[in-house]
Symmetry: C2
Subunit: 381 residues, 2 copies
């Protein structure tokens, strides 16, 4: 399959080539309707330059160009320089498709983001994206609003037939992770999951510890009747936070009530607030995320309950808005960005077939005290 080239080819290292300035690509002239065809001799080819074009210009073989490109040894310094210059002049960039084909590696990893575009997941995705780029990977993203099994399965398949080298799932739903695990796409799967999910590589922030910390803050303030607004039952993060809360409560010998279950969104927090405001004993509430806290705060406000005078409220996440709630919300700050980086680090480990560093799943949220928590009335009459 002799590509037509040659023409002037071969040993023509002519440094004094008649055309000093290359046609300057960069703009593959999409409009340009084949205007310069009959130049038989050594004119630069029309389309995007290939490795052969570079080779000809540098007076070497395409293989040498490849060597320079892949930074392999065995290329004389002077030759390397010539090649690099030719590359620069032609503004050449290797075709990823061809490279993927020859190498049998796409160099891209698939990201599935399921659910609402919330602050946490979005930030984690951003961090992951930057980390992936730094590692030389391309990320092919598939977002979806819903996270039903069907859509998810399709997403994985789509990504799989794109030959991504691994799939990352950002979505705390237990079901999503399970669906993924069931699919067996035949390629590494890394999911954000705070519970242990056999068969899947997982990464997460330490939700359990965060919840304990939050609860202990409340207890330390003197609260004894603490209620809980939890996240949806199929969220692993919600479960972990619930567990952390429960353990802290029990360890301090307090009474553990059933949590009110919300869906992470403000309306459900509001509903929870409506329920809770009639509770005469309660002096503090641990809300599983900031958005629900906002709703809860609104409900308390309209019921005439003062925060933190009548009741303390602590959230989770520390979204950018939290500091401006009424009152400014005490909450647990999470390092989503770090999570994103951890995800990529795990992907790299898996791809290299190394065991995942265990300490990577341990970023503990940090308590940010603002004005929504205070000692209970009874403790400071």
């Amino acid at each position: 399959m002799g590509r037509t080239d040659d023409s002037g080819r071969a040993d023509a290292p002519e440094p004094e080539s008649p055309e000093p300035a290359p046609p300057e690509p960069g703009s593959p002239e999409p409009a340009q309707a084949e205007p310069a065809p009959p130049d038989s001799a050594q004119a630069e080819p029309a389309g995007v330059p290939t490795m052969f074009d570079v080779a000809r210009r540098a007076g070497v073989s395409h293989q040498t160009v490849s060597r320079v490109l892949n930074d392999l040894t065995g290329v004389a310094a002077s030759t390397k320089l010539r090649v690099e210059q030719a590359i620069a002049e032609l503004n050449y960039t290797p075709s990823p498709a061809a490279r993927a084909m020859a190498k049998r590696r796409s160099g891209s990893i698939g990201l599935i983001q399921a659910g609402r575009p919330d602050y946490g997941p979005s930030s984690a995705a951003l961090g992951f994206n930057e980390a992936a780029r730094a590692a030389g990977f391309t990320v092919s993203q598939t977002s979806m609003r819903t996270l039903d099994a069907d859509t998810l399965t399709q997403a994985v398949h789509r990504l799989a037939l794109q030959r991504v080298e691994a799939i990352v799932l950002i979505s705390g739903e237990r079901e999503a992770v399970e669906v993924l695990r069931g699919i067996q796409a035949g390629l590494p799967l890394v999911a954000v999951a705070s519970e242990d999910e056999p068969g899947t590589h997982r990464v997460s922030l330490d939700q359990y510890a965060g919840a304990r910390l939050a609860t202990e803050h409340l207890i330390g303030l003197g609260h004894r009747e603490i209620r809980q607004v939890a996240g949806p039952s199929d969220s692993m993060d919600a479960a972990e936070r619930r567990r952390g809360f429960a353990d802290a409560i029990r360890e301090h010998g307090l009474v553990l009530h059933d949590p009110i279950v919300g869906d992470w969104m403000p309306p459900s927090g509001h509903a929870a607030g409506e329920l809770l405001r009639t509770d005469p004993e309660m002096t503090a509430v641990f809300v599983s995320n900031d958005q629900m806290s906002l709703g809860l705060l609104a409900a308390f406000r309209s019921a005439g309950l003062l925060v933190p005078e009548d009741v303390s409220v602590i959230g989770f996440d520390d979204i950018p808005e939290a500091a401006y709630f009424a009152p400014p919300l005490t909450t647990m700050r999470q390092d989503f960005d770090g999570l994103g980086r951890d995800i990529m680090a795990t992907v790299l480990d898996v791809l290299r077939d190394e065991p995942t560093a265990p300490d990577r799943t341990a970023r503990v949220p940090e308590l940010v005290v603002r004005e929504s928590t205070a000692p209970p009335r009874t403790a400071a009459p």
Copy 2:
């Protein structure tokens, strides 16, 4: 960790084949050292099945398989059936790299998302992502926190050498769009931009109309001394909202004050509130987005200013939290999802070399009246 899976592999229909399940790709079997080489005849090849494997199994040429795959005419129904069955049995999927190479089209489009992961951009990205998928495109995403020229330029180049067919920029910064335009990547550029940017295909929501509507709502309520908290000066959306506000004010013969400029985030809204609360005339504020409104509300609250009794506040965007602010925020709802779809539609137009449908840049935000706006005291004493 070569996922040992397969075992039960499911689907694999052919029960009589010597080796029922293909070795299951994805794991390029690094360990498997060529165990089955001498099978000259018709044994299934080791790696991922190719078009030739399908062809052999169906007893046709690979070209016929290609025809079936690409849904071309000229294939007998019976043959087509056989091929499809072989495809299913082998669990074959075409290699995108090979296809991209032969077709000289990557089938993917690049998405650059610059800036914080805010609700609006994230939602638009989600909508775009879904639309792209529906159109059969893959989206390669590059997110970044900052949007300086350097990072942006790099992002474009990275995408360009990935051979994406078009680049989409979601980020309202004027400078970002200009940088992009300056780069001349040689491929179509579609940006979210509410101002007219020569040389770039643009899509946007009708910020101007939205701002007018918001302002007119205030005026209609009887307000005469309306102040404005604008977005950053290099945001095109901010400029358009500012223009809409100004025009509405002028047309009603009211006095136009210089806006206070914020940066979209709650703290800047808070700072604006601090400034504004000393203004004795003011009875209403048009804040350019909901997050700044939150900060402003907090400042007014701590200053003892009642909203809406003392001063009305209207925001912009209608983020999910807005309904639970104190008080619930009147604001302009934007169809970010629709914007995302519009972006993809425009990309498609550009790729097909058709002029962009002009009415696509015209989604007008919708007024959502809640409790932060009311007639001024003087109008209803």
